[in-house]
Amino acid sequence: MSAARAVRPVSVASFAQAQNVRRDDQRNEVEGLLPVIAEAFGAIGITKDDVDFICSGSTDYLVGGPFSFVMALDAVGVWPPRSESHVEMDGAWALYEAWVLLQEGKVDAALVYSFGRSSLGDLNEILTLQLDPYTMAPLWPDIVSLNALQARALIDAGKATEADFAAVASRSRRDALANPKAQVAGDIPVETLLEDEYVVAPLRRHALPPITDGAAAIVLAAGDKATRWSERPAWITGFDHRIETHALGARDLTASPSTAKAGEVAGVAAGPVDLAEIHAPFAHQELIVREALGLDGTVTVNPSGGALAANPIMSAGLIRIGEAASRIAAGQADRAVAHATSGPCLQQNLVCVLEGA
């Protein structure tokens, strides 16, 4: 288990993300990725030849064609041939794969990227295909409805109220005002948000994420490169992820044991947490993840505005790690927790602990 072993220090040396928009109707995936990867390299003055490994995260179903990751590689320029891999998961898991490789000590730098245009199809139908293909998907339940079931369970259990969901949304949008890459931002009080219509009760409009086209890239570095490429490296000191059962009706939807386990293995509680970037596309999910990670009121949560401010599917998790690392690099935090999620109602969760020097 990770917590028990010595972790080779690996830093998030650089992070870039596309402007998060409702719809990028001009560029294809490659054209959208190019400037993001160029920015990630340019910010630390390196080129593609300085990284030893490349790993990406994406899904075919956003674009409606098989092998969508294949052409995306043209945004990197893998010539001469490079050691390269791809996960059909959020880029946060691609980052995990790269981090694992760096743990062996044979290579010192990796490029991780992710991309996806959520605007092309109907997410309510596409994400249904993640469900059990025999006993769930054939009825076409949509992702918003499933999350409404989870939100209702929280309310029924006395763990939260609709006003709590609105408070998460209000704070996220206000914080997003300071994030130039955010898609949804504004200073709207809780009382006003509570006047929103229900989309699927008990979830009102503000408790849902926006639909976002986006991309992100991170450069990981170890050894000399880590210290050469960053004045104040954001070191990954703990990293783990866990999955729960898929059967929604066999889960306690009000808790996230997979987040709790990943947080425990990653060592979240081993020191004070200054800030947390939580990948909670639906407002109520933030409350569940906070509890699972044991974060109290002193922790700054989602200063970027989080997934409620921009939710580029397949990148939103990776962006949480980038956002947390950026604040450490900028000296705004000493110890941060980043979280990513996948699957219906927080089925799979990843926790990454980052620390300044």
Partner: protein, 384 residues
């Protein structure tokens, strides 16, 4: 310093055109439970699960690791889903092996599968996108021109492809899990089969199969199992762009670089002399002589001569695809893992009728896409 990693359990399904007797979960569990049994372990002993498959559109099940997590005993554990096109079964094995080599986990279950009969492989691979070029050739039509280019460059005679097709199908008769069992196959049958994509005959192409493969990988201090471990001596992945000016699709540099990397790790300087047996991704017959050259088993232009001389036959000095290979079973997502798994079986001495006596060092290779993604590993019966 990297930890040593070994294969301690293997399992595969009976591969068929349509496995109508199982669900998707049933198919992957068949392979996974066999691998666990071979390792004398249960799900409870496994630290993490790494799963791979080709496009989700084959089954219409997006990011299937979510649905399959409980079926593979992954609840409460890390689970990763790899997708690197046709090489995915190999890449998945490598991602799993790095979880051991990095010291993060002690025992990892890795699984790859495809249940193509839920849809139709030709459909899923060729969903036409707007503005795309009109479909001219189909899957084999993509590869046939490169085969023609190989023949032109090497001067190989026409019958070499048919020889590979016969050899691999005869080998499949020794493998109870193989999809195609064609007891009467011979040169005449292959040469008289329909010419699909000239110069490729029907019997020179792989079938479309349902199937799954699984392995249990373990760290040096966590060995178990019914057979001795197969030690990983080297592993590597390489990718190059899909289309670029001057790209050599007959002898891709990514393949050459990938093999050079694993050979250095495994201490191999003369592949033909040092490798006892190999399982190489040959979905179309002519890829055997092409990969013989790409993998450095001979000089450029000489691959077909090795095939013609019987060097790659079951009783040759470098037996290739004694399991019957991709030409005999092709559950796409699992096909690469089957190559990795079969060579582990060889050095563990558990390959039954298709066992090469005394196999100690073996090479598994998978490739994907338009020959731009490669993954390989070398396993051995002795600790590296």
């Amino acid at each position: 310093m990297a930890e040593r990693c070994a294969v301690i359990g293997v399992g595969q399904t009976h591969h068929k055109a349509k496995r109508e007797d199982v669900s998707i979960a049933g198919l992957v569990r068949e392979a996974a439970l066999r691998a666990l049994d071979d390792a004398e372990l249960t799900f409870a002993d496994i630290d993490a699960v790494v799963i791979g498959k080709a496009p989700d559109m084959f089954e219409g099940n997006m990011m299937p690791e979510l649905y399959l997590a409980p079926a593979l005993g992954a609840v409460g554990k890390p689970m990763i889903r790899v997708h690197t096109a046709g090489s995915v079964g190999g890449s998945t094995s490598i991602v799993a092996a790095h979880l051991i080599a990095s010291g993060i986990h002690k025992r990892v279950l890795t699984v790859a599968y495809e249940k193509q009969s839920d849809s139709d492989a030709m459909w899923a691979l060729s969903v036409p996108q707007p503005f795309a070029a009109p479909l001219l050739a189909g899957a084999g039509g993509y590869f046939a021109p490169h085969i023609r280019a190989y023949m032109r460059r090497s001067g190989a005679p026409d019958h070499i492809g048919c020889m590979v097709a016969v050899k691999d199908r005869q080998n499949a008769m020794r493998n109870p899990y193989a999809h195609l069992h064609l007891p009467d196959i011979d040169m005449k049958t292959v040469q008289e089969s329909v010419m699909l994509w000239d110069p490729l005959h029907y019997l020179e192409a792989c079938p479309s199969s349902d199937g799954a493969a699984a392995m249990v990988l373990a760290a040096e201090d966590s060995l178990s199992g019914r057979y001795p471990p197969a030690w990983v001596h080297g592993m590597a992945m390489r990718s190059e762009p899909t289309m670029f000016a001057g790209r050599d699709q007959v002898n891709p540099r990514a393949g050459r670089d990938c093999s050079a990397d694993v050979y250095v790790q495994a201490g191999i300087t003369d592949p033909r002399a040092q490798i006892d047996v190999a399982e190489i991704y040959v979905p179309f017959s002519w890829y055997e002589p092409m990969w013989l050259e790409n993998l450095g088993f001979c000089a450029l232009g000489d691959g077909w001569k090795l095939t013609e001389a019987g060097a790659t036959a079951f009783d040759g000095d470098i037996p290739w695809n004694t399991s019957g290979g991709v030409l005999s079973s092709n559950p796409i997502g699992a096909s690469g893992m089957l190559r990795f798994l079969e060579v582990a079986m060889q050095v563990r001495g558990q390959a039954g009728e298709h066992q090469i006596d005394g196999a100690r060092i073996a090479l598994g290779q998978a490739y994907g896409g338009g020959s731009q993604f490669f993954s390989m590993w070398v396993v051995g019966s002795e600790k590296p």
